[in-house]
């Protein structure tokens, strides 16, 4: 049984309270909106890609603590990184949250993002943690609005331009 208090660690509560990279990005080259109709979570993400680098990134919206902290830590993790690294982190984060990556025993690049590993034991909250990553993937691939309910499986690739 998951210990949900384990999930609400200091680092997550801190990012929820003081989200990093919060706001709109005026010169974003890539944007997407992420929706979780079950929670009512909604976030807008803007990314400025220069060449192959995510030069700037910002988000805003309304969401639960898990989603907001995940978005905040995601933006911190991918800012200044090559696009390929961001895509790799997206995949690793999804794998961790859905129980397909054992961060204690398998190689990964998630660093402090492993604080979210507990969500894999809380199936109703997996989508909260993944939504920002789902949205980043949609932004980088010019997919527009994405939703956790585009398909029941959060691992599902969003339909290009699709709306839930």
């Amino acid at each position: 049984m998951a210990d949900s208090k384990q999930l609400y660690q200091e680092v997550i509560l801190d990012h929820n309270k003081k989200p990093r990279n919060w706001g709109a990005l005026a010169d974003a080259t890539h944007q997407a909106e992420g929706l979780n109709p079950l929670c009512g979570d909604r976030l807008q993400l803007g990314v400025k890609v220069n060449g192959e680098t995510l030069e700037a990134i910002a988000f805003e919206g309304e969401s639960c603590a898990i989603c907001k902290a995940s978005a905040s830590m995601m933006t911190t993790a991918v800012k200044g990184k090559p696009r390929a690294d961001a895509e790799q982190l997206i995949q690793e984060f999804r794998d961790m949250a859905t129980g397909n990556l054992d961060t204690a025993n398998q190689p990964h690049h998630l660093g402090r993002l492993t604080v979210f590993s507990g969500v894999r034991d809380l199936p109703t909250r997996v989508k909260c943690a993944i939504l920002p990553w789902h949205t980043l993937h949609a932004a980088l691939n010019s997919m527009g609005t994405t939703s956790t309910e585009a398909d029941d499986d959060p691992m599902h690739e969003p339909t290009p331009g699709g709306v839930a």
Binding site: S4, K5, C39, C128
Partner: protein, 413 residues
């Protein structure tokens, strides 16, 4: 807290012994089940009734002449009469077994609406409706070129009856209204609303999903044209529900589904439909669930609906006072007349975070939009936390809820 009338006092310890699930622990804490608006728990006598059917009565109904089939048929039809008495329907043939409230509403929307609605007709619904009393009407309205008009609510979550009266015109063809709001607990003045609709010659469907477990329902006194409720919210099983309809309307309606008992005679040229209620009970019905629902109705009737209502009023009053005395919590839905539901928001904490952390304390509440998004939009919140009570809940469980909320507030400091 004591009930106002000693005759309505509830032996809560004895009641709780009937519900084995209430002895569970969750995360090492005693389960505090406050999600009864979604589904209530089943007492042992009702569970036993299901087991007895499967052990010694199981057969298909209305078909064979052998012992088991006759027994199952008799028990199924007796369950119908129990439901009839439960809501004081005038006629057992006006009581249809459905798969639940949603199915009952769909039956009326498609069975009545498809036959009688025309282009430019108007259907009146309210802001307080559950999605299941919105979507079926939208589906039929779209098909027929009809439209939906909506009764607004005030800041307390009460319907604006003056606005309701003004919505009627020559195009108004139907009213759908919930008896009790699932998201806010508001008890609507349905009797008055039905009288107003009838003065315009308009029939009314009442969604009784949240009323049947908590209030005495008398469909003849209400004079409603249709009344729908679910088995699993009145201590019965899932997959079963009741739709009451006035005989003359049911007889005029089209069947919604075809096959099985709804047929009198079939040729490839023409089918003759059975009489009500069978016309609306296509295929093999959920026989075990129907018989078990009958047992659930017996159980609730044995406890006494007025006793249940008095105890739940005490619980709601106590919970409202305790929550109001806790800084940083806002109650959403403060109607003068409410039943069994406390919807609230904790300042600075998303409802889903509240729900997850309350679960850590063994407290089960619902968080989300409760399939009532128009209500959420009205109050400009994405979701709420909802504690909903049943007669087997205690004042101590209210204390556990409030203590758990305070822990959440501490975590989010």
């Amino acid at each position: 807290m004591t009930a106002r009338d000693p005759a309505l006092a509830l032996d809560i310890a004895a009641i709780r012994k009937d519900f084995p699930i209430l002895d569970l622990t969750v995360n090492g804490k005693p389960l505090v089940f406050l999600d009864n608006a979604a589904s209530s728990q089943m007492p042992q006598p009702v569970i036993d009734r299901w087991v007895r059917y499967e052990t010694s009565e199981h057969a298909n109904i209305h078909r064979a002449v052998h012992y088991l089939s006759e027994k199952a048929t008799a028990e199924y039809e007796e369950a119908r009469r129990k439901a009839q008495r439960f809501i004081n329907a005038p006629d057992e043939h006006a009581v249809i077994f459905t798969s639940g409230t949603t199915d009952g509403i769909n039956l009326v929307a498609h069975g009545y609406g498809r036959k009688f609605f025309r282009a430019r007709d108007e259907i009146i619904l309210t802001t307080l409706e559950h999605h299941s009393n919105i979507v079926p009407w939208q589906m039929v309205a779209e098909e027929k070129g009809a439209s939906i008009r909506v009764v607004p609510i005030d800041d307390a979550g009460q319907l604006d009856i003056e606005a309701y009266k003004k919505l009627f015109n020559a195009n108004t063809k139907f009213v759908g209204v919930t008896h009790v709001s699932n998201a806010l607990g508001t008890i609507n003045p349905v009797k008055e609303m039905i009288a107003i609709a009838h003065s315009h010659g308009v029939p009314v469907l009442v969604d009784g999903a949240q009323a049947a477990p908590h209030l005495r329902v008398d469909v003849q006194d209400l004079d409603c044209d249709f009344y729908a409720f679910s088995g699993h919210k009145v201590c019965g099983p899932t997959g079963i529900g009741i739709l009451y309809g006035k005989r003359e309307l049911l007889e005029k309606m089209q069947p919604f589904k075809g096959g099985g008992d709804m047929i009198l005679n079939v040729t490839f040229e023409k089918t003759t439909y059975n009489t009500i209620p069978h016309k609306f009970e296509a295929g093999t019905p959920p026989i075990a669930a129907a018989i078990t629902l009958g047992a659930a109705i017996d159980y609730l009737t044995g406890v006494g609906i007025d006793t249940i209502a008095a105890h739940e009023t005490d619980l709601l009053d106590y919970a409202t006072r305790e929550v109001n005395a806790t800084p940083g919590i806002r109650i959403i839905g403060t109607a003068e007349r409410k039943a069994a539901v406390l919807s609230f928001a904790v300042d600075g904490v998303h409802p889903h975070d509240v729900g997850t952390l309350l679960n850590e304390e063994g407290v089960a509440i619902r968080t989300g939009h409760h399939c009532a998004q128009p209500v959420m939009q009205r109050f400009k919140v994405p979701a709420t936390c909802r504690a909903s009570f049943a007669f087997y809940n205690t004042m101590e469980e209210v204390d556990a809820l409030v203590a758990a909320i305070r822990k959440v507030q501490k975590v989010f400091g």
